[in-house]
C-alpha cells in the first residue's frame, strides 16, 4: 500500500509519464516485429552456422508417366529434410523442385540428389553454390541484434530522461533526509511497470497485426526465407521478455537516481 502511495507521489506529472510510455511502447513494438519475423524465419544462431543447401531441381524424363511423377513428389514431400516439393510444367517437360529445410546437412542433400538422379537430370548444385538464404539469415540476425541493442538504448535513454525530469525533487528530498532507497524505490517500480506494460502492449498489437495480415506475412516470409511460417512467439516467452525488460527498466531508473543523489 505504501508503495502505491509512493508511486502516486511520483505520478504527479502524467505528461512526463506519457512521454516515457509512448517511446517505450513504440520501441518494444518495433522490437517485437523484428523478433517475430526472425522467429518465423526459423533463424537461430546454430542453424545459421550450419551449412545451407540449395533447392534441388530435377528435370524428369518425358517418358515417365505423370502419375508416377506425382507419386514421386508426394513421396519426396514426406521426407523430414524436405520443406516442400513442387511439380512444375516447363515447356511440356515436368520439373520437380525440391526445397530442403534450412540447416539440412549437405550429405543428406547429396544422397537425395543421387536418388532423384534416377528419375531425370538433377540441375541444381548442392552446398556452397547457393548460400543467399544463409546470407539473408545472417543479415536478419544482424538486424535483430542491432534492433535489440538500439531498442535497449532508446529505452535506457527514455527512462533516464524520466528520472532526470524529477531531478530537483530528488535533490531536495535527499537534502531533507530521504535515503537513496526511499528515492529509488518508486522510480524502480515505475521503470518496471512502464517497460513491462510496453511489452504487453507490443504483444497485443503484434497479435492483432499478425491476425489481420497473416496471409501477406506468411507469403512474404515464405518467399524471402523459403520456409513455412511457424506462427507467433509463445505467450510465455513474451512473459519472460516482459520480466527481463521490466528488470532492465527498474535497473536503469535506479542507476539514474543514484547518479542524481
Amino acid at each position: 500500500m505504501s508503495l502505491l502511495v509512493a508511486m502516486g507521489r511520483f505520478i504527479r506529472r502524467p505528461g512526463v509519464e506519457l512521454l516515457t510510455f509512448f517511446p517505450l511502447a513504440l520501441t518494444t513494438l518495433a522490437l517485437s516485429l523484428v523478433v517475430t519475423t526472425w522467429h518465423n524465419a526459423g533463424i537461430s544462431p546454430e542453424e545459421i552456422l550450419r551449412p545451407q543447401v540449395a533447392p534441388i531441381a530435377v528435370e524428369v524424363d518425358r517418358e515417365i508417366d505423370p502419375g508416377i511423377v506425382a507419386a514421386l513428389r508426394l513421396r519426396v514431400q514426406e521426407l523430414p529434410a524436405v520443406a516442400r516439393a513442387e511439380l512444375v510444367e516447363q515447356a511440356g517437360a515436368p520439373r520437380l523442385a525440391v526445397h530442403l529445410r534450412p540447416g539440412t546437412e549437405p550429405e543428406v542433400a547429396h544422397r537425395l540428389s543421387a536418388r532423384l538422379a534416377e528419375w531425370g537430370e538433377v540441375r541444381s548444385e548442392v552446398g556452397e553454390g547457393w548460400d543467399s538464404p544463409k546470407q539473408l539469415r545472417r543479415v536478419a540476425l544482424a538486424v535483430a541484434i542491432f534492433s535489440l541493442l538500439s531498442g535497449l538504448g532508446v529505452m535506457w535513454s527514455v527512462l533516464r530522461h524520466r528520472v532526470f525530469a524529477r531531478r530537483r525533487e530528488l535533490v531536495v528530498m535527499h537534502l531533507l533526509g530521504a535515503t537513496r532507497r526511499f528515492l529509488a524505490r518508486p522510480h524502480m517500480v515505475l521503470g518496471f511497470v512502464h517497460t513491462a506494460a510496453a511489452v504487453g502492449l507490443a504483444y497485443w498489437l503484434t497479435n492483432i497485426a499478425y491476425t489481420m495480415y497473416r496471409p501477406e506475412v506468411d507469403g512474404l516470409l515464405e518467399s524471402v526465407f523459403a520456409v513455412e511460417p511457424v506462427g507467433l512467439i509463445a505467450p510465455e516467452h513474451w512473459l519472460i521478455a516482459g520480466g527481463v525488460l521490466g528488470c532492465f527498466g527498474a535497473w536503469t531508473s535506479r542507476g539514474a537516481v543514484k547518479q542524481i543523489v
Binding site: E169, V172, H174
Partner: protein, 265 residues
Amino acid sequence: MSKPAADVPATIVFSKVSKSFGGRPVLRDVSFSVDPGEFVLLGGASGSGKTTLLRLLLALERPDSGKVAVAGRLVHRLTDSSLPYYRRNIGVVFQDLMLIPDASVTHNVRLSVEVQGASRRQANARACMALELVGLGDLGNTRVDKLPQEACQRVAIARAIAQQPAILLADEPTESLGAGYTHAVLDLFARLAERGTTVILASRSPLVMGYARAGRMMRIQDCQVVPAQSRTLIHEQIPYFGQTVSEVNRVLDQMPTVGPKEVRA
C-alpha cells in the same frame, strides 16, 4: 525506518574548523558551541562564510581541518548511508529556498515529513499546521511557481518547521520578507527555540540582527566567529501573519513534538 535514537542532546560544537575555497580562506580556526534549545543569530557581510558554516553543519561541505560535532557525533565522518538519518533532524531554510516549483505548496511542505517515513495523512496534517503558522493555510493547493517570492520564502520556512527538527538552520530566511513578516518569522523561531529546537539563523540584515528575543548573536568577521552586540530594532507589537499570539501558540501546542530534542544519526 529511522535508525535507533541516541540519547544525546543536540549540542553543536565547532572546534578549530577551517575551510577555504580555491585557496581563499572562508573560515579559519573557528570554535564555538551551541546548546540545545538556543536561538543563535549569525551575522556577517555577504560572502563572509555564513552559508559555508551552515553547509558544514548540514554535511554538505567537509572542513579542511578541525571538527564539527552534533550531539557528540562528528558530522564530517558520517557515512553516506547515515547522512539521510542525520539530516532528518535538521530543518533547513535554504537561501535559494530549494522548493519544487511545479508542485503544490502542501506537496513541498509535506516532503520533509514523508521522507521520515510518516504516512500521507500524518504528513498532510503536519504540513497544514506548519502552513498555518506562516499564514499560508489557505494556499495549500497553489503551485509554488504561482506564488510571489515572499510567499515562497514562507513555504520554505513551513517546510523546515513541519519537519519538527532538533536543529533548525535558516539561511537568510527573511530576505524577501517585509519588516512585519520578518518579525513574525523571528518570533516563530524564538517560540520553537523555547520548545527545545536549536535555531541558528544566518542573516546579513540589521533588522534581523537586532531581534531582542534571540539568545545569542554572533558575527563572522575576518574568517572568525565573534560575539556580536545586541541592538533591539524591532518592537513586538507587529501583527503575526494576521494571527494573534495565542492562536500561534495553540497551533504550536497542537503540533506533536519529537520528544526531547535529540539528534539521531
